[in-house]
Symmetry: C2
Subunit: 623 residues, 2 copies
């Protein structure tokens, strides 16, 4: 990996930072955040502005360029990668280390008095703007919105914003028509006494209208905004996608409809002016609902007294609770996914000993098997296919420079998933193709105990996911071990593989209480730098639990695994399991046999079926 | 309990709300919060202003009086009590119920346009002022500080502010001189680049100067503030307490000292003007450190740009980590406390069957046995002595109207503790003097499993207490049971029985990470309304744990019980315990026998020793 030479680019950027063509007054610093205008986790190539200006293309990082300096803030996952990808023009700011200044402190230390700091108001979330603006102002500087993105002005070969065809999802997939979703949304709006709701997150637009796209890799979303009033629906979207008869039919664009369900289609770029018009027309006590993560530009369009901001929107919360059709779809998707993985592991077992299977080949093979399944659309994230020491790099993605060959001497960790039209999958299995060491088995078994502790947990209705996180760690903690990531994240239904508002993490974040129908991952791990990584991940559905008693009539919840892929028993030290844990593994494998076995049979995949049967032999614990 | 008649008082209050003698402009509403000027949990009689004006004397509640209305906000623990204690002039606002308006919303709904809402700026914490002021302003009203407390103007027989003699604590108790504490504080101040630190919490003043008082019942504190500069120490305290030769000697008031350790003693009431003088003398970049819970009055004394506010002060954090002398003192205090409880339970076992022991008699007897122990000062909180259905009232305190007689047919719950000069105790035991039912034993055993799960937990250095809370609930959750309070609180060393900044609770609060030397309670419970209450509480010390591995060299922690009082084995369903849990109980009882047995022997308390030996017989679990 050689660094990107950025001398010329930085020179150009510093010129436009002073050019009256783009800025009212020269800016002495320009901030280039990671995100797009929708605060997406995964972004399109045209939004990779920070990577363009610096060369550093990790998923998290903020660049700040001043007249003299160029600095990049990123976290521990990316210190090495950023150092490799950036040239000497850049200073790496290692977040999380004690001596690393915050962006604000650094700006204050390098800027001349009374400086202007520019940022694209569409890219910076309102809450972040507020914090930074306050810090700069108290030091005598100003944060100013620069309407035209300055990177775009110098990015001559910037890819076009994607504008791919849409997929319409019918009731059998969504369980609820977009009309009914609008009705439910309006009733939430009425409850909170707001007149308008602005949909800014791409997965929320997609979910609301029962549409999917492919503008962003791995996330079946499309670039759009929506503004919902009590009697109006405005969809801001570009391209001739609205010319597609299936889409027109789906959205009933050509039907005579009650006016409150008539969708007005508007250009993507007109959201700001339309929202400003909404803002200008408000009377006292009329409110507009926005996520507090919405961009500064859109938030500012609504005068402060009319704003109603919440960390999670009602769509985010409704989307998280899957209905019966969505749940059934997720079940089907996970069955197909398990079939693909049974094929894969059976194939790996035969091929790995030959010494010809690399991490990339294994990842490609996983995709090949998945793509044979019905309604397969694409992967749901970049496959983490890692063996030996690469397994300890939590966000590893094999590239030619790091690509390792799988062998009978190393642990192999595969974290992968797919988008099917009926659901999204995400599963991690850790396996050994030879004989694991006692220590490897010991660590694997602690991770498994943590996985089971969460999966089998029974907890009161209304419990927040972060209260379950320690269950996943307890067995590791007992031996002085741990892992430095959360235990689970929300999973979309043929949508983003990471979604809010629930999750299982030690980090205190504003997670919403778990309720039946929510779907999260359960993925504890253990990583030994330089030698191996272990993770066991199922996607699990929150379901009601039957309990002996029922305190205050609150009811209880538990999890049902949707992922049905065998957990390699060769890696388990059975003597470290309790009888209850042992039964859990056996019950789980029995269910894999029944459900996935039936499907393998149906698809005529006899060799994979044999593999499944071998891999699901019950554990026997010597008392 | 008959309600307090408040018609005349409210009339008087409404008069002074308009009187130019007290208010610059009439106020249309006056807020009477619960607290004192130090945001104490326990308050002195002269600070019980809300109880005076309303009759309601629970520990939590806020009164608001307008020209037409009088309303009281309190939480679920006090709905019944408040309803009984208040007359018809008052509307009870049941916090936590869906239809109950917030104070701000209610004020907005009842006030005429452009109203002024008054409050004593010394009583309202700055963060609360900020929230309420913002809400009122956005509705066109104003929150205004009323310097003279309006309740005090009509409270003709208001008790005097207590001004009791001080106790000096020497190094054998504190382990650190006040000079060394000042040096450590100044080094924290230098780290954060602040020039002044304002000590507003009473227990922080007491801890810093190694002094104790008795101005507030149960809390060995005294009314004082302190302002620490890099070269000055100012102590704001009233009365002739500073004339006491022991105190003068302790504080070296008459010695020739380096100027930076010379304590300037000033009147308690001069804190505001002195702080204003400090505020007026600051240059740019000079900062003053205050707790963000400090009163609005003191916070406002420092212009905003000079304020440095944190949720926990460096004193609060230093105080929480007990040094070797404090830890040894706490151990000694808990041994004495256990001796007293062995005597008590032995006595109860003999007396209860006679039918003459009431909850109040039992509580008094507990105090009597404690007072026989060396260095006993007072109780550390009002004893919760409750039998049968009273046990389900979590904050129960027996009064003649509710006083129940202990019997062989009901569960008895005793939550009690004391202040000794060497430490503070807090212990709950739940016992049966006859034969408990299978259901009672089942519930008790789940609570015990939760208690053990926390007490025996091993967790990484730096873990926050809230991550351990679910361990205490897991066994209850499995059966659909739970309890509606946190699992533990910090405990002071001959100081407040509840102290920050650590604790074990499902409530997300900004708790500081646990570290070796911190002391918390471990007190899960189960409560069945109308029939019984169960709680098992030990005070536990955070200690380093030995583990097989040591991930990232972080080190691990666990707890050591300081409380050494037998847990009634009669209440345990041994078959519900794992072997590990069974061993924990037996090891714990073995330690009680050794440590408390030796002390009972030394004190010649032979009958109690026999009781201890009986009660600590090992459990035997049938495999």
């Amino acid at each position: 990996m050689s660094p990107k030479i950025t001398t010329e680019l930085l020179k150009q950027l510093r010129q436009v930072m002073k050019s009256p063509k783009y800025v009212q007054e020269p800016v002495q610093a320009y901030i280039v955040p990671s995100g797009d205008a929708h605060q997406s986790e995964y972004i399109a190539p045209c939004d990779c502005r920070r990577a363009f200006i610096s060369g550093f293309d990790g998923s998290a990082g903020t660049a700040i360029v001043t007249e003299q300096h160029a600095a990049m803030w990123t976290d521990g996952r990316y210190f090495l990668q950023a150092a490799h990808q950036m040239d000497n023009n850049w200073t790496l700011m290692k977040m999380g280390l004690k001596d690393t200044p915050t962006q604000e402190d650094w700006l204050v230390s390098v800027l001349p008095e009374g400086s202007k700091v520019g940022v694209d108001p569409f890219i910076i979330p309102a809450d972040q703007w507020k914090r930074m603006s306050k810090a700069l102002r108290s030091a005598g500087h100003d944060l100013v919105p620069v309407k035209e993105n300055l990177i775009d002005t110098i990015w001559t070969d910037c890819p076009q914003r994607p504008c791919k065809p849409l997929i319409t999802l019918d009731l059998s997939y969504t369980g609820l028509s977009w009309r009914d979703k609008i009705v439910a949304l309006r009733s939430k709006m009425a409850e909170r006494k707001v007149l308008w709701f602005v949909v800014t997150a791409l997965d929320e637009v997609a979910w609301l209208f029962n549409l999917r796209g492919s503008d962003v890799e791995y996330n079946p979303v499309f670039f759009a905004y929506a503004v919902i009033g009590m009697n109006t629906i405005r969809l801001f979207i570009d391209g001739d996608r609205m010319m597609d008869p299936a889409v027109r039919e789906h959205l009933q664009l050509d039907s005579t409809l009650e006016p409150e369900f008539k969708i007005q289609v508007m250009p993507y770029g007109s959201i700001l002016s339309e929202l400003q018009a909404v803002g200008a027309g408000l009377s006292p006590k009329e409110k507009v609902w926005l996520s507090d993560k919405a961009s500064y530009a859109l938030t500012e369009a609504i005068p402060k007294v009319y704003r109603y901001l919440t960390p999670y929107t009602p769509i985010c919360i409704a989307k998280a609770v899957k209905n019966a059709s969505e749940t059934e779809g997720m079940r089907r998707a996970h069955i197909k996914d398990a079939v693909a993985l049974c094929e894969l592991f059976n194939w790996l077992e035969k091929e790995v000993p030959k010494g010809t299977v690399t991490e990339i080949i294994a990842a490609d093979k996983a995709e090949e098997f998945r793509s044979q399944q019905k309604d397969f659309v694409e992967l749901s994230f970049a496959t983490i296919s890692s063996t030996g020491p690469n397994g300890a790099i939590i966000h590893y993605k094999p590239v030619p420079e790091t690509n390792r060959t799988l062998s009978v001497n190393e642990i192999y960790l595969l974290d992968s998933g797919a988008q099917y039209k009926d659901g999204t999958t995400d599963v991690t299995r850790t396996v050994h193709f030879g004989t694991p060491s006692a220590y490897e088995k010991e660590c694997f078994t602690y991770v498994l105990k943590g996985h089971i502790a969460v999966s089998a947990a029974i907890f009161p209705n209304g419990t927040k996911g972060h209260l379950l996180d320690s269950f996943a760690r307890s067995a590791l903690w007992d031996c002085g071990l741990d892992y430095l990531h959360g235990t689970g994240h929300g999973v979309g239904s043929f949508l983003n593989v990471h979604e809010g508002p629930c999750g299982i993490s030690y980090k205190t974040f504003a997670d919403e209480p778990l309720e039946a129908g929510m779907i999260v991952s359960d993925e504890p791990g253990y990583y030994e730098d330089g030698s191996f990584g272990i993770r066991i991940e199922n996607v699990v559905l929150v379901i009601p639990a039957e309990t002996k008693y029922n305190f205050k009539n609150r009811g209880s919840l538990t999890f049902e695994p949707l992922t049905l892929v065998p957990i390699q028993t060769k890696m388990i030290d059975v003597n470290l399991l309790t009888q209850k844990e042992c039964n859990w593994v056996n019950d789980y494998h029995q269910k894999c046999r029944e459900v996935i076995g039936t499907e393998l049979e149906r698809q005529g995949r006899h060799e994979a079926l044999q593999w499944l049967i071998r891999e699901t032999e019950p554990l026997i614990r010597i008392q």
